[in-house]
Symmetry: C2
Subunit: 218 residues, 2 copies
């Protein structure tokens, strides 16, 4: 009985702590991600972060010695936890079903960025504001993805299926279509009447790209 009660109480406390307070550290990070991605580094104040996280402002500086430190921590976190695009490529690479491969890549990118726009916004803010980690951000995503895809394209050229175009530039063509749509959507808020049909858009992109790059011997 008494043990039961004790456990109940402990549970309740734990639940409270977990619900209302969670981890102070995490709540700060969560709030910071929200605000930095919405308004950038210079547009966000530590007071605001504290209010959003419902945490005393001084606590921020116990967890992160500097506002810039906190910003860096966020970027590193985002870099580490994003699963990346490689899965959708690897999943279908061996099938050599090009339409499947490129459709999967585009779908994945649209879906991921639609679900978490903060990532794209953080990436852009860090680049514009010239944060130190911006380069790592860039290398991890832009260059890495281009490398993966241009490798795949290279393979397909050697298979005789794709034209002998520069694989990197070809990769840039496809990634550009997808990424620019994401940017227009998430950064510029292309809302208005234009309710984009992402299924049709993806099909159009893949159709144009594949028909444009495949070698002309049926």
């Amino acid at each position: 009985m008494s043990t039961d009660k004790a456990i109940e109480k402990a549970d309740a406390t734990a639940r409270e702590t977990a619900k209302e307070k969670v981890n102070t550290h995490d709540r700060i990070i969560e709030a910071a991600i929200k605000l930095f991605s919405e308004k950038g580094f210079n547009g966000t104040t530590t007071k605001e972060i504290a209010e959003t996280a419902e945490v005393n402002e001084a606590l921020i500086f116990r967890h992160f010695s500097t506002k810039r430190d906190l910003y860096g921590a966020i970027i590193e976190k985002k870099i580490s936890e994003e699963p990346g695009i490689e899965l959708s490529l690897e999943a279908h690479r061996d099938s050599k079903d090009d339409r499947l491969v490129f459709t999967a890549i585009a779908s994945r990118m649209f879906e991921k960025c639609g679900r978490d726009p903060s990532f794209m916004r953080l990436l852009h803010f860090s680049a514009l504001e010239g944060h130190d980690l911006s380069d790592m951000f860039f290398d991890t995503y832009v260059e890495y993805i281009n490398m993966l895809i241009s490798d795949y394209i290279d393979t397909r050229i050697k298979d005789g299926e794709f034209k002998k175009l520069n694989p990197l530039y070809s990769s840039k063509a496809f990634i550009g279509m997808v990424v620019n749509q994401i940017i227009v959507q998430e950064l510029f808020g292309e809302k208005k009447k234009n309710k984009t049909d992402y299924k049709e858009l993806t099909e159009t992109f893949v159709e144009i790209f594949l028909e444009g790059i495949k070698s002309g011997k049926p």
Copy 2:
């Protein structure tokens, strides 16, 4: 003589004013364009602007009642003075030489943004930071260009030369390739060893796009 001298003197004064001081108004705007495009609205201080323009800080507020007013003024200036892409389309539209048309569009965009990166950066900062004029920026460029190109594509579909794909989505495909390259180059500073060959890149983009969109009846 005396009138000559007076004129000379007036001229000299005018020249001095025009050379060393130019127009105070213009010097402020010039400095603001530089700084806002480099560091964004929140990252730029009025003191800095004054120092860069070599003008007393108080003068900024005689010309623009508010820092935000100044920001709005430079965005409006940039919107009004950019010549736009339509010229390169109209110049070749009637030729119906698709390769010429799309090569001209891409070349023009690369060249324009390479010559004045501040435009792209301002556009992105204003979008991210949510400036009021960001929408106008967007409508004037992104939507307008997409409209022009999708109109052209529509024509070519009716000519039986292009596939019956959604013209807007097809336009987005081509613009996406080009714009994303510009962004990667100018915002993320893709410098490193990747010295992009813009001639080859443009050819690759146009080749993929045109072969991808043209109807398959030779």
